[in-house]
Symmetry: C2
Subunit: 212 residues, 2 copies
């Protein structure tokens, strides 16, 4: 969609508050972002099932039709929100895949804990995990984003017959550690310094990926 | 509470259907079990937050007051339901803790996959995991049951300064693998033979527990 069409859509559909100036073209980007921010917050707070397009629209101060116009279905809003939430991590993700194989375990581990230790990326991730555990549609989005975009790319580097299974078992160590530390909050795992965890987990991840 | 008191409570509070014979003392045990079965199904289907004591009572065909009488609060019903769901696994759990240390990783791994591969124990476990991920109270129950009753006991056997962290990181590999295989269903992990997973995971668990 062109910026011009964006602006036209906003002009048609945005719920305008009294006394605010008319929107210009540059507002279109702002509106789309505002919907995404609202979507992320709604999905975080309520989970996938209880979140509605109407609720997202209300939180963003726009008409539901505008949410549909930009993103389509609730599933597509969710996927867009997850992608935006993951965006700060994308550069690091590429570094995981592209670096030398002999320390891919360390890079993969630091990437995952980097995302979880940062409050800005932890909250949306929590929302995704909660949604994926509870809802089949959200699980599909999670599979597509994590499995396809990250694990397949790591597996491709390995050039081993069971590379995908290895990548998934490495991910399982990281997913489980994150679950117990950040979600279930089992002690002492929830409180120890993250470097102590990385020191124990990175060699396990490395061994899953390139070991015997 | 004595059986006599149980029976009196049942007689006072059970919603009696027309034409059914008067309840006897032995019905008290049946009623308590029926509430637990109903509770497990309600928690499985709706998750912790959406389940109510009233809904459990209705599903069991008894008055809400009877659920409170036997179990107390919703949290306490949940804990009782989880304990009952875990009961078939308790013998195996003791075997995990009590066997020789050199193959504790194999026993721990087989115990966890034994519970998950069995549909009768998988469903209640799924309910617990879903609830624990979404609700702080359910997470507390999960921590108490899993962390205290299983991980602490394994850690006690190790006699190492960081034994608890080791037990938790071992559990993290198992929890994460179960999440990706049974909940998120990432392929190929979701479909490969469980023995192929055990062969890769058991040495990792062993190494977390007793390795360098």
């Amino acid at each position: 969609m062109s910026e011009r069409e964006d602006a036209a859509a906003v002009s048609d559909l945005t719920t305008r508050r009294r006394g605010r100036p008319r929107r210009t073209e540059s507002d279109a980007v702002g509106t789309r972002d505002r919907i995404l921010v609202a979507a992320r917050e709604e999905f975080s707070e309520r989970g996938y099932e209880k979140t509605s397009v109407r609720g997202i629209a209300k939180a963003a101060g726009v008409d539901s039709a505008l949410v549909h116009h930009y993103f389509g279905t609730k599933e597509q809003v969710f996927e867009a929100a997850v992608e935006v939430a993951a965006a700060p991590a994308l550069g690091a993700r590429d570094a995981v895949v592209e670096g030398p194989l002999e320390d891919v375990g360390e890079r993969f581990t630091r990437f995952i804990f980097g995302v979880w230790e940062n409050p800005a990326t932890r909250m949306p991730l929590l929302a995704v995990v909660r949604s994926a555990v509870n809802n089949e549609t959200a699980a599909t989005v999670f599979r597509r984003l994590v499995a396809t975009q990250l694990l397949r790319r790591i597996a491709d580097q390995l050039e081993l017959p069971d590379a995908e299974l290895r990548a998934e078992l490495a991910a399982a160590q990281l997913v489980g550690t994150a679950m117990l530390r950040y979600v279930i909050k089992v002690e002492p795992l929830a409180s120890v310094d993250v470097e102590q965890i990385i020191a124990r987990v990175a060699p396990v991840v490395q061994n899953h990926l390139t070991g015997p």
